[in-house]
């Protein structure tokens, strides 16, 4: 027997020590290491590889491992580069997914399809690994974030941009970026950003959302980010000296556009948000929202194959096993009912038949009794008659005997008289 009590709040009367739990979690997470998959999408020449290198302060893309733009493809492909980076005792397995050839063709219809397929295939791998009977520690290769590069036209989103984001916003966290922001003046940039956000809202595109928190510090930062969306970035592989300090930047005749200068572009905001504060959240949203979305759609399709989906919409909260259990139970109940009904019909028919038999038995018995009585009556009658006859016979014979006697007497008397007369 199990008894579950109600939930109560209790106050501690002294130090217990579970406040150390976060440290235990910290320790274990460092031991395990971290992984993150970042996807970059955009036409060639928008500075995607340079930005990645700037973000991670490494030559992820170099002459040895060239970036997507240097690999001219006829059709859109999806390629992965995996690097292992360490910092402050923390290991990070970083996977960069790029899409060379995206938007570069003359006819770009369906150039998003390989991207969708890639994301879905990673979800599928995870789902299969999760559904195995023998599960092991599952690597998380799902795409956690997609940086979408918008060309700095200054006007608005291109139809391809809108189409792509609409198709992918429910599969991955999209962070739209304005590439090569150093080709626009701050005012132009401002206008451009406003226009883009307007269009994003118009088309109901769900880009990655920065959630409000209780923390004041955090909220300040989040509000700052929200004001500057979409982030306008500049990347650079070269280090230049400015005022005696080495900085990453792009050297122009008229000055140096510094990557990490907040007045020049939003790169620092992007880096802080993507890596230093929201990396974990990006993973969590991917796991709790996008993956669950994929999974429930996939499983619903499997379980309700061939069954009217409208009927079963309310039942999606059940697991397929529970569904089968329920069906089994329903079937058992149905069978029981059927059995009962059949049993009833059976009993009824048998009763009828037996009743008929009994009736006919009673009837035959009755008739038999009747006939017997009849015969007995006849017997009796005959007995009567016989008795009567015997009586008659008896009395007649008696009479006859008397008559005979009389006759005899008479003849004797006559004889006597005759004799007397003679004298």
């Amino acid at each position: 027997m199990f008894i579950y009590g109600p939930q109560q709040q209790k106050n501690l009367e002294g130090y217990v020590g579970f406040a150390n739990l976060p440290n235990q979690v910290y320790r274990k997470s460092v031991k395990r290491g971290f992984e993150f998959t970042l996807m970059v999408v955009g036409e060639s020449g928008l500075g995607k590889s340079t930005l990645i290198n700037s973000l991670f302060l490494t030559d992820l893309y170099s002459t040895e491992y060239p970036g997507p733009s240097h690999r001219i493809k006829k059709t859109v492909e999806v390629e992965q580069s995996k690097v292992l980076v360490k910092e402050g005792g923390v290991h990070l397995l970083l996977t960069i997914v790029d899409t060379p050839g995206f938007g570069d063709a003359v006819d770009n219809s369906n150039c998003w399809q390989p991207v969708i397929d890639h994301i879905d295939s990673k979800f599928e791998d995870y789902l299969n690994a999760e559904s195995r009977v023998n599960r092991r520690q599952m690597p998380d290769n799902r795409v956690h974030c997609c940086l979408y590069f918008i060309a700095p036209s200054g006007h608005g989103l291109k139809p391809l941009d809108i189409e792509f984001m609409k198709r992918l916003h429910e599969k991955v966290n999209i962070i739209p970026l304005i590439a090569k922001a150093d080709t626009m003046t701050p005012e132009e940039c401002q206008q451009f950003k406003k226009q883009i956000m307007k269009e994003i809202q118009e088309h109901k595109i769900k880009i990655y959302e920065f959630l409000e928190t209780d923390d004041e510090e955090e909220m300040k930062m989040i509000r700052k980010i929200k004001d500057r969306l979409p982030l306008a970035v500049v990347g650079s592989n070269t280090i230049i000296e400015v005022n005696g300090k080495p900085v990453r930047g792009r050297q122009y005749p008229w000055g140096v556009a510094e990557v990490e200068n907040g007045e020049h572009c939003d790169f620092t905001i992007l880096r802080n948000m993507l890596i230093r504060t929201h990396m974990q959240d990006l993973k969590d949203v991917t796991n709790n929202v996008h993956y669950e979305n994929y999974r429930s759609k996939k499983l619903a399709a499997v379980t309700y194959n061939g069954v009217d989906n409208n009927k079963n919409k309310g039942q999606l909260t059940k697991s397929p096993l529970a569904q089968m259990e329920e069906e089994r139970r329903d079937h058992v109940a149905k069978m029981k009912k059927m059995e009962q009904e059949m049993e009833q019909v059976f009993e009824m028919k048998v009763k009828e038949k037996l009743q008929k038999l009994r009736d006919s038995e009673a009837e035959l018995q009755r008739r038999h009794e009747q006939m017997k009585k009849n015969l007995e009556a006849q017997h009796k009658e005959l007995e009567e008659k016989r008795r009567h006859l015997e009586e008659e016979k008896g009395s007649w014979e008696a009479q006859q005997r008397i008559l005979e006697q009389q006759k005899l007497d008479a003849s004797r008397t006559l004889e006597k008289n005759k004799k007397k007369k003679i004298f």
Partner: protein, 427 residues
Amino acid sequence: MASTEIARQAGEGARAVPLAGHVGFDSMPDQLVNKSVNHGFCFNILCVGETGLGKSTLMDTLFNTKFEGEPTQHNQPGVTLKSNTYELQESNVRLKLTVVNTVGFGDQINKEQSYKSIVEFIDAQFEAYLQEELKIKRTLHSYHDTRIHACLYFIAPTGHSLKSLDLVTMKKLDSKVNIIPIIAKSDAISKSELAKFKIKITSELVSNGVQIYQFPTDDESVAEINSTMNSHLPFAVVGSTEEVKIGNKMVKARQYPWGTVQVENENHCDFVKLREMLIRVNMEDLREQTHTRHYELYRRCKLEEMGFKDTDPDCKPFSLQETYEAKRNEFMGELQKKEEEMRQMFVQRVKEKEAELKEAEKELHEKFDRLKKLHQDEKKKVEDKRKSLDDELNTFKQKKTAAELLLNQAQQAGGSTTLKREKERKN
């Protein structure tokens, strides 16, 4: 630096690249921790032990709070598991603690079924989690995990050895939950006896193949303390919520005429070690082991029971869709078959019953045929009798008629004689 699991997993596919500056992903552990703290933690302890071993007191002492309940009597008919959940907070850490007590354990005369309720309870929590995990629309993130993370097994301080009930129960539980055996009310044992007792218990556990929880030694930061503590198992504890003044401090203790047992004095008992290991150092590991080892084992067994496999007979790799569909078809087929069987059974019964009834009918007819025949015979007899009677009657009639004729003749003749005589007399 020691290799991390991720690094091991990366293996051939990834290349290590140096960083030219501070990128900032070393904040990842902090990001993760912040999220966990915001979300809150949960921990579930199961206390197994006979009535009166101080389970509730120990919980109160460990968590510095008065949990609920009055002490139970010894007259429970069976083992009941009572679960209570408490929301505790220490600094910024919120903990949802569930304490499950086994009420009536060891009180029955026949204890053969004692462990069953406990196993069922543990399995029920695994089952609930499994069901949630298998749902199509699931909310694992906000699911209140009720799986038991640690089982404190209370051993009676006899000083001799484990009771057979203890061995049987722990053997049944060791593959389902992290067992931490403790010697309860250890202030009843002297120090020398205690050492022998611990050795005896440990050797009995080993010889019976009982797997108790080992504090993990793979993480260098805690490896040393954990391995030292492992050698002190089972912990001999004393619990008390009463405070006694020792020196100028109020400490938790039990006061005897011959001295005071201080709960938090490591020379007196292992309470501090237990608290250190259970709460301050390995709570997270206990949760992890429960999830990755015990729960996985339960899940694997359950799925295999239902016929799920990772590969089909042709050894093709696992496909969720195919398996579910195959399972479903098999299942539907089974149901169909059962239905058919039942129908057939009924058809059979009907046939049999019909045959029976036909037999009965036949018998009835035979009976009445016999009766009819009897009746016919009787009728014939009566007819014969009637006939003979009629014959007799006729014969008699004839006789009578003949006799009367004769008589008449005679009378006539006699009458004339009489007449003659009469005439003569007259003359």
